[in-house]
Symmetry: C2
Subunit: 218 residues, 2 copies
Amino acid sequence: MGSPSTARRMSARQRHSASSPRETRYDRRLAEILAHATDVFCKKGYEGASMRDLSRESGMSLAGLYYYFESKERLLYLIQKHTFGTIVERLKVRLEGVDDPEARVRIFILNHLEYFLANQAAMKVLSHEDEVLKNGFGAEVAAIKREYYRICVGLLDELKRDRSLQFTTRLAVLSLFGMMNWIYTWHKPRVDADAESIAQEMGDIFLRGVMASAKGKR
Amino acid sequence: MGSPSTARRMSARQRHSASSPRETRYDRRLAEILAHATDVFCKKGYEGASMRDLSRESGMSLAGLYYYFESKERLLYLIQKHTFGTIVERLKVRLEGVDDPEARVRIFILNHLEYFLANQAAMKVLSHEDEVLKNGFGAEVAAIKREYYRICVGLLDELKRDRSLQFTTRLAVLSLFGMMNWIYTWHKPRVDADAESIAQEMGDIFLRGVMASAKGKR
């Protein structure tokens, strides 16, 4: 581990933190490794998983894994960043051009549930290992999550203004997240409906619930 | 570790599995140890915590801890059994003599949130270490949880019949659990309301939501 190796490692890190969205081959390989790492964390828990397990599962040599990712913590950070980043990006695209406040909340719910059900292993890891990341890694992921949370607050505040509703936004937002996130504990593809139907029914319960708080209705 | 010790350990085990509800001194000591163990599991995670950590935190010797509890797994089992058993017991007492289906669901919500907010460390451990227990231990805890889940299904089915509502009971029950259980991730005593107010607001969202599904209303 002399200076050439350090220099190469630095450049790998810089390459990764560069914000070019066109590094498709690198991105594809990264996404594969992250998917394998997600499975391992899901099966063994973050604490219980070793870099050796991650190497075995991904087919990447242990040296290669350390070279590209440096640590288990960095892998968890990349999984979280990738997951939340993707959810937020898709949401923004879907919200474009939709004006009705109720429809916008419905889009939020569908977007969240679709991603969650398609990536259950990732969601379990994210829910369980929420507080593992420290310092810089943790702060960056926390910022993406905060943005996502604020989008939801904004959507509910729009609805509240538009329909003259009365509810505590923070409690409503966190109740909605709870309803949706808990799904990783119970959803069985053979028993339960798909994301679209669940988004419809959960959306009905949640939206009818908050919309029944119209001023004068109490 | 000769045969007398084994005999004593057997009798401790038998004493514990005996269903006498009056072993108050033993129960009190047990509750203390479980509270300490809960804190340790909450801080370090179940995998990360050692019997030595548990001994340090509880002030009980390592030998004593092994003598009474045999293993870390047994401690987790006792925490889960104690927690879910207590919630179910209190709920049954509170439901006695209450006939209105909506009021009964409100009692369920308040009972759940009150216990959750008063025992946040325990709830975090229970949510995270849900699948750790195997075989007999796991089966017994699963049976208590199933009973609790079925009580909630029963309450919602009563409401559905009584008000001619249309919703998928399983989805409604699991949405409600999600709203309530997620609270361990966000509730801050200095920022958020107490259990009673939260139960009122969550109850409003959930109940108005499901009650808006009355037949003919769609």
